[in-house]
């Protein structure tokens, strides 16, 4: 075995070190075949079939897990791109008129695919729900991490995580059956299905996510700096506000951004209770039609390959890029925060 030079790329398991002694010995033995190292010291036995097979299988899995991202992008972009090119039945749209067009009339004879109202619908719902979910979610996070006793925390934290798993369609039903009639009766609106209702329910949905992630960030703050603060005579609140929260700021902002991303990508809630009118809202009592609900509502009724189909995929691309931006921002913030610690 030692006579044939082992050029297996495998390294010993733990030290990921290119200058590991084992690689040096095998290269030496390549250069000087007269010297045969004693077998006992040969650190790289030939790999067994199970070892090779398992490595290959796991690599395939990993590549599939990543390749999925590429596949999704390819399919979305490919279907969407067609919208911007001329074809026999209709001229292609310009990217500008798609992104900033005011009219969304996909099924008319003279169809119009202006996505601005839909994009603004998505952004407005997301913004309002984040404004509501951030203070409540972070308040709950601070309560769980710093104020509550251990008993309470061990009971409430799992409950909050459970509530993050409530299916969105169930919350949508609450919005339709409870919140909408309430808004209609109390505020005297013609319909309770509007921006406000959708934002309220989305906030309820995002709050457990923000609270759970925020609690993780606050608990990860090292205890010694909090102890130091107490030792200097600071009260509990002063410690929370001046020491713990600033130290966890990166993690807390990541929590809010991920909650925001959840609201932006949520489909069923806005489909059921945002009202569904493709218009730019003037007040929080107007109906809106976010990107996600447009996709879910119209995708079932379009012919594959039609202009409408392509326009919906273009909306999907817009949505994909928006969530990607928020994700990367969250990743960046949490990474920066970790480095500083």
């Amino acid at each position: 075995m030692a006579t044939e030079p082992t050029v297996n790329p495998d390294k010993p398991f733990i030290p990921d070190d290119p200058k590991h002694p084992s690689s040096a010995t095998s290269q030496e033995s390549k250069k000087a075949p007269s010297y045969e190292p004693p077998k006992v010291f040969h650190l790289r036995p030939r790999l067994s079939p199970a070892e090779k097979g398992s490595r290959f299988f796991f690599l395939i899995c990993a590549i599939l897990a990543m390749g999925q991202m590429l596949l999704i992008m390819i399919f979305l972009f490919q279907e969407a791109a067609g919208l911007f090119f001329d074809r026999a039945d209709s001229p292609g749209l310009s990217v500008f008129s798609f992104l900033f067009g005011l009219d969304w009339y996909p099924t008319y004879q003279d169809h119009a695919f202006g996505a601005l109202a839909l994009i603004i619908g998505s952004l407005s719902v997301t913004a309002i729900s984040t404004l509501l979910a951030a203070p409540f979610g972070l308040g709950l996070a601070i309560y769980l991490a710093c104020v509550a006793g251990r008993r309470t925390r061990e009971l409430v934290k799992p409950a909050v995580e459970l509530l993050a798993a409530v299916p969105s369609v169930v919350l949508g039903l609450i919005g339709m059956a409870v919140v909408a009639p309430f808004l209609q009766n109390v505020l005297g609106l013609s319909t309770g299905l509007n921006l406000l209702n959708a934002s309220l329910i989305l906030a309820i949905m995002a709050t457990p996510t923000v609270a759970s992630l925020g609690e993780d960030a606050l608990t990860a703050v090292p205890h010694d700096i909090q102890d130091a603060s107490y030792a200097l005579g600071a009260t509990k609140w002063e410690t929370i506000w001046r020491v713990t929260t600033p130290a966890a700021l990166g993690g807390l902002s990541t929590a809010v951004i991920l909650g925001l991303g959840r609201a932006l990508g949520e489909t069923m809630v806005v489909l059921m209770i945002a009202g569904g009118a493709a218009q730019i809202p003037n007040s929080i009592f107007d109906a809106v039609r976010p990107l996600t609900s447009t996709l879910a509502a119209e995708m079932g009724e379009t012919a594959v390959g039609s202009r409408h189909y392509q326009a919906l995929f273009a909306l999907g691309v817009v949505l994909f890029l928006m969530t990607l931006a928020f994700n990367l921002l969250a990743l960046y913030l949490s990474k920066r925060w970790r480095r500083r610690r």
Binding site: R55, Q68, F75, P167, T207, A296, N327
Partner: protein, 291 residues
């Protein structure tokens, strides 16, 4: 000098007010969340009985039960796990035990982290164009399972990798020192130690898959099916979409409210009990970990 606003009394007052605000914020959130659960429980319980769970919908879904929806949801959830578990666990093992740090690993991690935030309706679009149209599976259980499988794959992978990373390096070193090769070390030492943690992540993903609505609406679901699916190429009903169709598409939305809440309750119990199992396992793990 700058302590003027910081007399002991003022600081204690501020302390009291601030903690009161935090406590009331937290209390308010918990009350809202639990009253929602209670509302669904009380409104749903009236509709749920044995016939509701075991019979087909009747009179254009205005009465009868939800058996096909239960079967469909279970089929979709189990099928999606059959896809995402092997792939996700495999990818996680590769990332934690086989891969050398480098651009490939970074790319895979970045891809996984970003996929977890992609909206489910985008996965629905992807499934529609790839599985339903290009592969020609049509709207079917199979397309739905594949779509949900891909949707849950990032969650499963990330959770499994986390669990594998928490198994100490010394376990692997000990196995390797005893002469095991890497596959033996992974299979006989690392996996048994990490498996409960990996399964926790998987169960959480399973709960999410069962509650997903938008992606299966685009790839697998029909509003009404008079039969149970007998092949993977059948369209199916599902609990989540059943709630949606009843609440938005019928002529008698208000009359079917009891069924809507009943179906919601069944879905909620299914999803929450799965998550509860996962949360309990995880709490046990954290407490009982010896390393």
């Amino acid at each position: 000098m700058f302590l003027s606003g910081y007399t002991k009394a003022a600081r204690q007052r501020r302390e009291k007010v601030a903690l009161l605000i935090i406590r009331s914020l937290a209390g308010f959130v918990l009350i809202v969340l639990f009253s929602i659960m209670a509302y669904i429980l009380f409104n749903g319980l009236g509709a749920v009985n044995w016939t509701f769970l075991t019979s087909f919908p009747q009179n254009s879904m205005s009465s009868g039960g939800i058996l096909p929806a239960i079967v469909g949801t279970l089929g979709l959830a189990v099928g999606s796990m059959a896809i995402s578990l092997p792939l996700g666990f495999g990818a996680a093992i590769y990332l934690s035990d086989y891969a050398k740090p480098g651009p490939l690993v970074n790319a895979i991690r970045l891809g996984v982290a970003n996929l977890a935030g992609v909206p489910s309706v985008v996965f629905g679009l992807f499934g529609l164009s790839l599985f339903v149209t290009v592969f020609g599976f049509g709207r079917s259980l199979l397309s739905g399972c594949l779509t949900l499988g891909l949707l849950t794959l990032p969650t499963v992978t990330a959770a499994a990798e986390e669990a594998l990373r928490q198994t100490p390096l010394s376990f692997r070193e000990a196995a390797l020192a005893l002469g095991a090769n890497r596959w033996q070390a992974v299979r006989q030492v690392v996996l048994p130690a990490a498996l409960p943690g990996m399964l926790t992540g998987a169960i959480l993903a399973l709960g999410r898959a069962a509650g997903e609505t938008a992606p299966i609406m685009l790839t697998a679901v029909t509003a009404y099916s008079p039969i149970l699916p007998d092949s993977i190429f059948n369209e199916v009903m599902a609990l989540a979409t059943h709630v949606y169709f009843l609440a938005t598409n019928g002529n008698n939305i208000l009359q079917t409210r009891p069924q809507q809440f009943g179906t919601s309750l069944v879905l909620l119990v299914l999803v929450l009990s799965l998550s509860l199992v996962a949360v309990v396992i995880r709490a046990r793990l954290r407490r009982g970990r010896k390393w």
